[in-house]
Structures are given as C-alpha cells and as structure tokens.
C-alpha cells in the first residue's frame, strides 16, 4: 500500500489525508466541480475531478472513483463516512479492481447495512433488540398498531438519521413513510423502510470496536451521542455520564458479540439505546469510521485512522483489550451551516471569514477555509470541534471557550446554539437523552441584547487610521459615517 484514494470530501477527507501522510502514504483527493478549491483537495498530494456537483454524479459514481484511482496510481481506497462508506457493492468493486479496501469486509457491511438483517444477526448473537418489525405495502398500519405508538420509521439501508421519521399517531404514518422513503432513496439508492418502537427519554450510547485480520477484536469504550436533532448527532462525548463499570462490561460485551457475529475487521460502531432503567437495546451497527471518532481518540490515545490503515495492510493491531486505557473526558460538537433560530434550515455560500480556536486539548477537524464556498449539494457539516479535560466539567468549559474563540462569517451556523447547549445546566448535570434538544431548546434564539448593542457599536467603528486598503466600489454607508469615515 503506497497511495490512498480518499473517496470523500470535507473534514473527514482532510483527517484521513493527515493520517496517510503520517504513515508515509501519498494521497489522492477526488472532488466535484464545486469542490475544486476545497480544503480536502489542498490536503492531498494529487487531486482528480470526478464530476459535477450532485453527489450521484461525482462522489457516488463508482466508475469515476475507480478511474481516478487508476489515473493517479492509487492502490487503496478509504471511504471516510457517508457516501460509499457503507456500500458493500462499492467495497467489492474496489477489491475486484485489485485495490485495497480500507474498511470492514464487504459481507459485514452488507449484513449490518441491511437494518433488518442486522437486527436478526444481533438478536442471534444475544444482543437485546428494540421491539420492531418489517413492513410491506399495505400492512404498515397494522404492524405499527401492534408495536404501539410512538413509533419510528427507519430506512433499511440507512444511517446518520437520514430516511428516519418519528410518528406519534396513525394520522402521521402515511406522510412519514413517504418522506422517509424518499430521503432513503435519495441518500442510499434504497427506499425500503421499517418500523421500530420509540423508547421514551433514552440515551444514545454506542461502543467503538476495532478488529484486525489476525483475530484480535477490542472495544475502545463507549460514546454518548444523545444530543440529537432529527436523529442527527449534535454533541458527542465519552465516557457516557451515567456509565458504570458493570453496565460498560455488559454493553461492550454485547457490542463485541455483534461484531464477532459478522467476523468484523477495522473500525465499527455498535449503537444502543439506553433507557432510564439501565436497559439497553441494539439500534444498528455502523460499519465505518464514525464522525465522532475524535472523542474516543482523545481518551484512549489510539489513532483510529492509523489503525484502519495498519489493519488494511494486514498488520496486527499490536495491542489487546487490557492495553486499552481510558483517561479523562472528551466532548465534540458538530459545527453545521444551518440556522438554529429558523428550524435549522441549512445555509450555504462563501465563507467570508473564519477564525478557528487553538490551545491545549482543543482539536479542530475542519473541512472549510476562508474563501471556500459551502456548496448546497452536501451535508451542512463544516467542522468538528472537540476538547479533552481531566473531567467532564473541564472538557465542557474548555470546549465552550473554544467555541467562543471561533468566528464563521458567511453562512449562518449553529455555533452560538452549540455554546448554549453545552453550557445548559441539564447538559452540565449529564441529564441527556435523545429528546434533550426538543425539551430544553424548543425554540432557540441567540438572545443577548447586551452583546448586540456592543456589536452594533463595533459594526460602525472603524480603525483610527487608514488600513491601506481601498476599494474601487462606491463608498458604502459604512464608509461615510461622518467623523468615523475611513481616513
């Protein structure tokens, strides 16, 4: 393995490129026409344009990706997350092209990628399941009634909250089925959906597993990702604030059993819902690197992408379960181009200004740069900000300050919302569940009148002397404000 094609974009493509170069591997970026100037292109040694902006015409075109690998001389493919990362057919196509697939075995992807087969497999391995069932044309209402409302409509091929809908009563079922099906078809080219019982106030807790091709399979502890909006994770952390040693043993045992049931290799995540009584239920297994992997890296000191590369080369992990040690607490937030004060409507357009935080135990996984135009075609995730601390309170405070040091001008982002979420007293008490945002932030506003007044004063203030910058444009009202005029 000498050259890795990274079949992705944004922050994860940058992060994978960094790991590759640290192992002496050259990297090949692929990009659509709107991503020509994207940071992930700059992070690579080679870059190949694979098509127009829509993902189906670029990042989701198998032939274009394999052609790019051939053209640029790549001998391995890393899928990142999203796009083709959980597509068994793509993984097989990569292998059939004679390239190394940096990920789990295609068969494991196929089984766990079909949510129904995954439930069955996990169930057979003794992992507790949420009550739920398949549906076919016509029996949805009957099945839903049997499970009992509220229920969840989920995409059979899904993940990441796409193609998922909550249904409180039968009246909402038809529209939810249609919407979830459409989203699933668009995101995964597979519109099948199924139903699941909706648990009340559960926590989303997941276990990171990592295996090599020599029979070693370990867990790297859990992550709690309960703070979600429409099944999109917003805040992730490890450890789970209510975790006990006994519960962790049971949950990680269950995760390893599920992974072993599909002969798992590479990085994977087994997701559970944890209810208020301490019972947990299998949700799904993500057969890829997870967006939120940095928090696990913070507390374990294990570089998950380095590990993926080693495993893909056929090397042993080099450590066993007893070598895995956990230290402190880490929290991550997802900075997205969306307006939390307007139903989280996605935003896009040029990044006019970007200031990213730095300092001890603060990590930025960024997929944007000043001057880059956030395209409308992809996920609104701009970057991930994470912080580590000796304890949860320190990590939360550190991350909060790092967010306050951040500036993104251009697209509207959830930056201020994220600050308010991780500073909320219920969050600081660790009282998180999947309905956390709906309960505590039903209608968020960035409501700081004092700051707005200060900002208004700053908006009209110009530096004391000329900056040497002039423009040929007609003077704007901000340049002709009486004595504040630019000298």
């Amino acid at each position: 393995m000498r050259s890795v094609l990274i079949a992705n974009r944004g922050e994860i493509a940058v992060r994978v490129a960094r790991a590759c170069r640290e192992q002496g591997l050259t990297t090949v970026a692929v990009y659509s026409e709107v991503d020509r100037d994207a940071p992930h292109v700059r992070a690579a040694d080679r870059a190949v344009c694979i098509g127009p902006a829509p993902a189906r015409e670029s990042y989701l075109r198998t032939e274009a990706l394999l052609d790019a690998a051939r053209t640029a001389g790549a001998d391995a493919v890393h899928p990142g997350y999203g796009f083709f990362s959980e597509n068994a057919a793509f993984a097989r196509a990569v292998q059939e092209a004679g390239l190394t697939w940096i990920g789990p075995p295609p068969d494991a992807i196929a089984i766990m990628g079909d949510k129904l087969a995954a439930r069955e497999t996990a169930g057979r391995a003794g992992v507790p399941l949420v009550p739920g069932a398949e549906i076919d044309a016509g029996n949805a209402k009957a099945v839903a009634a049997k499970i009992g409302y509220p229920i969840l409509v989920k995409a059979a091929a899904g993940g990441g909250g796409k193609g998922m809908r909550t249904v409180a009563s039968e009246a909402e079922l038809d529209e939810a089925l249609a919407a979830a099906g459409r989203e699933a078809a668009s995101a995964f080219a597979d519109g099948r959906v199924y139903l699941e019982k909706l648990l009340l106030r559960p926590r989303h807790v997941e276990v990171q597993v990592l295996g090599d091709t020599h029979g070693t399979l370990v867990h790297l502890g859990e992550r709690e990702c309960s703070v979600q909006r429409r099944h999109q994770k917003v805040v992730e952390e490890t450890p789970c604030p209510v975790m006990t040693d006994a519960l962790r043993t049971r949950m990680t045992d269950a995760a390893l059993a599920a992974a072993r049931a599909v002969n798992y290799v590479s990085t994977g995540t087994v997701e559970f819902l944890l209810d208020e009584r301490g019972e947990f239920y299998f949700l799904e297994m993500n057969t890829r690197l997870q967006v939120e992997h940095p928090v696990t890296e913070w507390v374990t000191g294990i570089d998950l992408v380095h590990a993926q590369l080693r495993v893909a080369r056929g090397e042993p992990l080099g450590f066993t379960q007893k070598d895995v040690r956990f230290r402190g607490h880490a929290i991550e937030v997802r900075l997205c181009a969306e307006d939390p004060a307007a139903s989280f409507f996605p935003s896009a357009g040029p990044i006019v200004a970007l200031r990213e935080p730095q300092g001890p135990w603060v990590r930025v996984d960024s997929g944007i740069a000043q001057g880059f135009t956030v395209p409308v075609e992809y996920d609104p995730l701009l970057s991930k900000l994470s912080a580590w601390g000796e304890d949860r309170a320190t990590a939360a405070r550190r991350l909060w300050h790092a967010l306050r040091d951040t500036a993104v001008l251009g697209p509207t982002t959830n930056l201020a919302f994220l600050q308010d979420v991780i500073a909320h007293e219920a969050f600081l008490r660790g009282e998180t569940h999947t309905g956390f945002l709906g309960e505590h932030f039903p209608a968020w506003r960035s409501g700081d009148d004092d700051a707005a007044a200060v900002a208004a004063a700053i908006a009209l203030t110009r530096p004391a002397a000329s900056t040497g910058a002039t423009t040929t444009a007609a003077p704007s009202p901000f340049e002709t404000l009486g004595r504040w005029r630019l000298a």
Binding site: L415, A452, V454, T461
Partner: protein
C-alpha cells in the same frame, strides 16, 4: 450622526462620537482599534478588530458589504443591515404573504394550488437542500394567489415560491 441598524426584527439607533457610542439609550465608551490586516473576499471586506468597550477589550471579526455588516463577537454573529436594505431583504420575511426559498434547493412536493385557502402554519411546499427535507409553511392565512414552483424543479435563494393574499 445617527445610524439605524436592523438586526432580526429589531432596529437599533446608534450614535457614534469620538470616544462613545450610544446604542438606543445605552452609552458605551469605545476606544477605536489600530488598523490591522484587511481581507477582501467575494465583495466583503473583513477586519479583525480589538475594540475596547467600557474598558474591556472586545475581539471582533467584522465583515462589511455595501449595506450589511456581520460582527462576530465571542462566538456569536450579529448580522446588521442598514435601514432600507434590510426592509427590502425582509420583504418576504415574518408575517409576509410571499413565501420565499431561504436557500437554493430542489422542490420535492408542492402541497397547494392557486385558489386554495390556507391557514397560518399550513405546509405549502417541501424543499430539499443539503440532503435534508424542509417544509415551508404559510406565515399568514389567506388564499393562494400564485405558485412559482413545481415538483422536481430548482429554486434560488430568495425566490418567491408561493404568494398568499
């Protein structure tokens, strides 16, 4: 000199003097910053400024365009518009019968037709943008006078999609 800045649905009246700023009825002591690097990108001019307000150094990133100023202060963005420009921009905003696309996207479904009587909050159009579906709802009750979208089509940001009167 008095300047009216609109932010969201509020208007702030700001008066700047040599070393003070009055914002509505509040007076702030302001020490003007030293000039620093100025970045121009896509019609915007961006400055990092440390403005001392009431004795406290405040670090802000300020982006200016002809009729708008964005101020990032302590991790929050304050988006200001000068009076008229903002009123224009807000024409399709809160409480309006003109329902506009907040960003470019694909029309997934159109749920109303010309002549339909709609209630406030009623779903009108389903848009897909950045891989997420979002429903545009009526902000006023009334009768649909025009629909400028069809399923499968694309709409630009700010385009009026449905008119209600």
């Amino acid at each position: 000199m008095e300047t009216r800045l609109r932010i969201g649905d509020r208007t702030l009246v700001v008066t700047l003097d040599a070393d003070t700023a009055r914002v509505d009825d509040r007076t702030l002591a302001v020490v003007r910053p030293e000039p620093g690097p100025v970045t121009t990108t896509g019609g915007w001019t961006v400055e990092d400024m440390t403005v001392t307000v009431d004795g406290r150094p405040r670090r802000a990133v300020v982006a200016r365009r002809s009729d708008r100023v964005l101020v990032s202060l302590d991790g929050r963005v304050h988006a200001f518009a000068l009076g008229d420009a903002e009123r224009r921009a807000a024409g399709g905003g809160a409480g309006s019968g003109s329902v506009t696309a907040p960003m470019p996207g694909k029309v997934v479904r159109v749920l109303v037709a010309v002549g339909d009587v709609v209630e406030t909050g009623q779903a009108l159009v389903v848009l897909e943008a950045m891989k997420m579906e979002t429903t545009l709802a009526a902000e006023v009750a009334g009768t649909v006078k025009a629909v400028h979208a069809e399923a499968g089509g694309m709409v630009d940001a700010g385009a009026v999609i449905v008119e209600i009167a």
